[in-house]
Symmetry: C2
Subunit: 246 residues, 2 copies
DNA sequence: TACATGAGTTGACACTGTCTACAAAACTAC
DNA sequence: GTAGTTTTGTAGACAGTGTCAACTCATGTA
């Protein structure tokens, strides 16, 4: 290998994201017996993820990934047929993390509280990792036909919503209705997506609204989702109807 | 100009988008008296818009724009300092068109109907021009600091919402409260954005829900916005609360 | 020990945005 | 009308990109 021993496979990124801290250590510089054959595929994904989280999907370059890892510009192509395949794998993992985040809050016997916790987990994920959120929901995905696994996490996340809704319906003593469960799951999803998208939008920034308004909006919007699901009391009735028809 | 008279400035794109059909015609090949000096700047924007609407923002290339217009790869740089400036101008116009679309439905004396019309106009715009919608709300905008005009249309669109909300509040006899108007305007915006985003999402496609579910979701979601604003009757109560606290 | 395979390398190609230098056309001043 | 200036378009270069092909070399297997 032509005597270049600099920072082959960039210990920084690899240690940070590929191996868990307690995992088997590997020698920085290849020893004579231990050839330091760390999985370049994993290192590429880790580095690509780091770049995307830092500067967004459009400035992901496989050549930069290779450069950062101290390998030739073609090395990543030994493990991925194309840039889109790297992207698809990063997206697949991001979706999986998203689904895991939704599923993270422990289940209690109060379905309303669980719904709230899931909503907060959604918002938390979207706001704390905006570029990752944009990556999976921004709409610039590689062709899903060609990358079947990519959206597994999306289905898992929707499953979390479905489970939640099923619990709510059941607790209310209503007959099981998959159609209704799906409709309500989509409703939650779209509402939460709308809220977090707006909160991180340049278009919103330009309006120069007070932080009070922005936060207040998010609060009432979230609360109204709860109201529509029957798991939150109606507190913020918006513009009052003169006479509510019922 | 070195005797190249092919399709300088590509009559197709120019006629289609720069000039309205009834506008002054211009000679395809420059006549001796009429130098055919059509505005290359406008032609660039038209061509860039066409590319973006067809293949999305990431595959916009200034060199391709130039090629299509039959000019040298540097010609567009006489009119725009950089690719981002072309993009910013396309985005500025898209925002303006969006605001105009929201404002298009004629005002009646039924504010509830007007609200519904605006909501439909929003959805119509987003679904009929998905790439344009993604362009302005997808979150990959050039730095708004450097392109001040770019978001004018966003402010105008928000103004349409504010006006609508002000009318609703006024009709309900409630005191003017700018804070509340803004909050409710954001609520509408986020709800509509969530709905249309989901309807055009690869993540949703992968769930393979029935068209009934997808359309049903959009309907109840839209209807619930109306309910929250007090301009629509509550028809689709979701999971029933056992006992609504009030 | 021969050979096949996998993994990384180099070098090319076509493409991109953008810089510089140049040419021609258009406008302005006399 | 002619000289000079400004505007507009061109040509060539440079560094960056994704990707293809050909190469080396270490490894595992027959």
């Amino acid at each position: 290998m032509r005597g270049r021993v600099e920072d082959k496979y960039n210990a920084h990124a690899v240690c940070r994201a590929v191996f868990k801290p307690e995992a088997v250590p590997f020698p920085m510089t290849p020893g004579p017996d231990q050839p330091a054959r760390v999985d370049l595929r994993e290192a590429c994904i880790a580095e690509a993820t780091a770049i995307i989280e830092l500067r967004g999907i459009e400035s992901l370059s496989l050549r930069e990934v290779a450069r950062r890892l101290g390998v030739s510009h073609q090395a990543p192509y030994r493990h991925f047929p194309s840039r889109d395949h790297v992207l698809a794998e990063v997206i697949r993992r991001s979706f999986a993390e998203f689904a895991a985040a939704l599923n993270a809050p422990p289940r209690t016997d109060n379905v309303g509280a669980d719904a709230l916790a899931m909503g907060m987990a959604y918002v938390q994920f979207a706001l704390s990792r905006p570029l990752q959120y944009r990556l999976i929901f921004g709409g610039a995905l590689p062709d899903p036909e060609r990358h079947g696994e990519m959206l597994n996490g999306a289905r898992a996340a929707f499953g979390v919503l479905q489970n939640l809704l099923t619990r709510i319906f059941t607790e209310r003593g209503q007959p099981f209705d998959q159609e209704a469960v799906n409709r309500e799951a989509l409703f939650i999803w779209s509402s939460l997506h709308g809220i977090v998208s707006l909160m991180r939008s340049d278009a919103l920034d330009t309006l120069e609204l007070s932080p009070d308004t922005r936060n207040g909006f998010a609060m009432i919007a979230l609360q109204r989702v709860g109201v529509a699901l029957g798991v939150a009391p109606s507190l913020t009735p918006g513009p009052q109807a003169k006479e509510t028809e019922r």
